[in-house]
């Protein structure tokens, strides 16, 4: 079932594009414009090195809010879940298969991003690979949980889409995924503190340059909280039809 879902994911141009190709394009564009030179904006870090964790956060956010939400709510609205319900397959299997696929695709998007960073821009990496992977996994799962909640509570595909978009764009713009939060006006910075993605960006960016977990307890706490809350709520709101 997981393999089947993976094939379907890749056949869906929009989801494959946004998680795999779009961040890469963005990176190339970004690299072409600013090059990979140290800038004061990133505290002496080189622009691209600093932007890769931000783009990774973007992939997570898009995968969580768009892919997860849209796939699940479309399946329900079209009666795909209804069909599955006539078979002995358990809802858990359906959810887990979906989860594995979105996670694998997000990881693939991240991998492409890093590969491009290394091959084209000779990106430097100062963190601990294992830590970064752990942070990435935590961030992804907590965002997928939000996606599953949305899919569970929104009555139609359309409404799920609208809500996902309303959440997605401000988060992408204001969380620091594209620009550092410090560049934004003070009032906007306050807003960004309420956006879950901000914590993903902070965590990944910190781990990327080798900061210890201890410096990011708040980020980890928020994301873990979201994950637990999201899992419970989405398990409760799961509906076959």
């Amino acid at each position: 079932m997981t393999w089947m879902e993976a094939k379907l994911f890749l056949r869906e141009p929009a989801s494959a594009f946004f998680t795999l190709v779009f961040p890469l394009m963005y990176l190339l564009l970004f690299g072409a414009i600013s090059g990979n030179e140290p800038t004061p904006q990133f505290g002496g870090q080189r622009t691209l090195d600093a932007s890769i964790p931000g783009l990774a956060a973007m992939i997570i956010c898009i995968a969580g809010l768009m892919s997860t939400t849209m796939t699940m709510s479309t399946y329900r609205e079209k009666g795909v879940l209804r069909r599955l319900r006539t078979t002995p397959v358990s809802p858990l299997v359906v959810l887990v298969a979906q989860l594995i696929v979105v996670f694998a695709m997000t990881a693939l998007g991240m991998l492409l991003l890093v590969a491009a960073g290394v091959l084209i821009f000779h990106m430097r990496f100062e963190g601990n690979t294992f830590s970064v992977l752990a942070g990435f996994t935590l961030s992804s799962l907590s965002f997928f949980a939000i996606g599953f909640i949305l899919a569970g509570i929104m009555p139609t595909v359309r409404s799920a889409w609208v809500v996902a978009m309303v959440l997605l764009y401000p988060m992408l713009l204001l969380s620091g995924a594209f620009f550092t939060v410090e560049l934004l006006p003070a009032a906007v910075q306050k807003v960004s503190a309420f956006l879950p993605l901000t914590y993903v960006v902070n965590l990944l960016r910190g781990l990327w340059v080798g900061e210890p977990w201890g410096q990011h307890l708040l980020d980890v706490g928020v994301l873990a909280g979201m994950l637990v809350f999201g899992s419970i709520v989405s398990a409760r709101t799961f509906r076959w039809e």
Partner: protein, 307 residues
């Protein structure tokens, strides 16, 4: 013969609407049992209660000897279900759907064989979204047959299909029965029920108003058969009186229609023909109109169209 489905006093209410009320029937092993009725008569609700997809408010339901609410898992392993509104992901290919669904059952039938039997071999690699209505329904039948089920539920199988596709599907359903499986179907096409079903339950406003074989329903309701012919001249005086009892004559210009009850000693047609011959009345274009289940249905549920 074993009872495959047993329903007693089934009732299901949605808000203020009583969808199904005091419905009781049994389905025997190896038969094609049909539920017919206008839209909103409670057919789908009933079948969904049997499938375990809905919880009855009252009444006893046993399918293959188990309670669909309590032992849904057992039921899903041993029955095939085709739902009125359901779909597969648009970009899933035919063989992938069969392969995937086969993986859900502990003892799945060979899907390649089903593909062949349902005439979907050419469409093996087609995307679900590219299939025609009839092909989609055939795929759904294939999915329903995957668990090698004892009982197959088919809900509004041929709705929205063209006549060719519909006839092809009917053949497939008869085929399912010859493999020893029991079929429970719903339809709002009377012709479908009449041609396909061994027994038919007519539902209206959530209740069963009649239940029997199609032929018995037609006989039992005393519906009329009609003999229609065109006169070349005028009808001789005393023609109507010469016909024995219980017939009614209707003359529209040159066309004469004789109505008579089904099941009389001498059939209306032989009586009319012998009388026409005896009185040497020139006529042409004689035909009979046999009552159908549709006539029974309309006389039971009323003629007014309703949604």
């Amino acid at each position: 013969m074993d009872t495959v489905v047993q329903v007693e006093g089934l009732r299901k209410v949605y808000g203020a609407t009583v969808a199904v009320d005091e419905v009781s029937f049994e389905v025997r092993e190896g038969e094609i049992f049909g539920m017919v009725g206008p839209n909103g008569a409670g057919k789908t609700t009933t079948i969904e209660c049997l499938e375990g997809l809905r919880k009855p408010d009252r009444g006893l339901v046993r399918v293959l000897g188990v309670d669909p609410q309590r032992d849904g898992q057992i039921l899903r392993e041993r029955t095939g279900m085709q739902l009125q509104q359901s779909n597969l992901p648009e970009r899933m290919r035919v063989w992938e759907a069969l392969d995937l669904y086969a993986s859900f059952y502990s003892k799945a039938a060979d899907w390649k064989e089903l593909l062949r039997q349902l005439g979907l071999e050419e469409k093996r690699n087609a995307l679900f979204s590219k299939l025609s209505g009839g092909q989609k329904q055939r795929l759904f039948i294939a999915l329903a047959l995957l668990p090698d089920p004892q009982l197959v539920f088919l809900d509004e199988l041929t709705t929205g299909l063209d006549p060719q596709a519909r006839h092809a599907i009917w053949d497939l359903v008869r085929d399912i029965r010859t493999r020893g499986k029991t079929v429970l179907l719903t339809t709002h096409f009377m012709e479908e029920a009449e041609r396909l079903c061994d027994r038919v339950a007519i539902l209206d406003h959530g209740r069963i108003v009649a239940l029997d074989t199609p032929a018995a329903l037609i006989r039992g309701l005393g519906v009329e058969e009609r003999v229609v012919f065109n006169l070349d001249g005028a009808l001789p005086a005393g023609f109507e009186e010469a016909l024995s009892g219980a017939v009614r004559l209707e003359i529209q210009g040159a066309q004469v229609t004789v109505h008579g009850k089904v099941g009389r000693k001498v059939s209306v047609v032989s009586e009319v023909v012998s009388l026409l011959t005896a009185q040497a009345v020139p006529f042409h274009g004689l035909r009979t109109e046999q009552p159908t289940l549709e006539d029974v249905f309309l006389s039971l549920t009323g003629r007014a169209m309703r949604e």
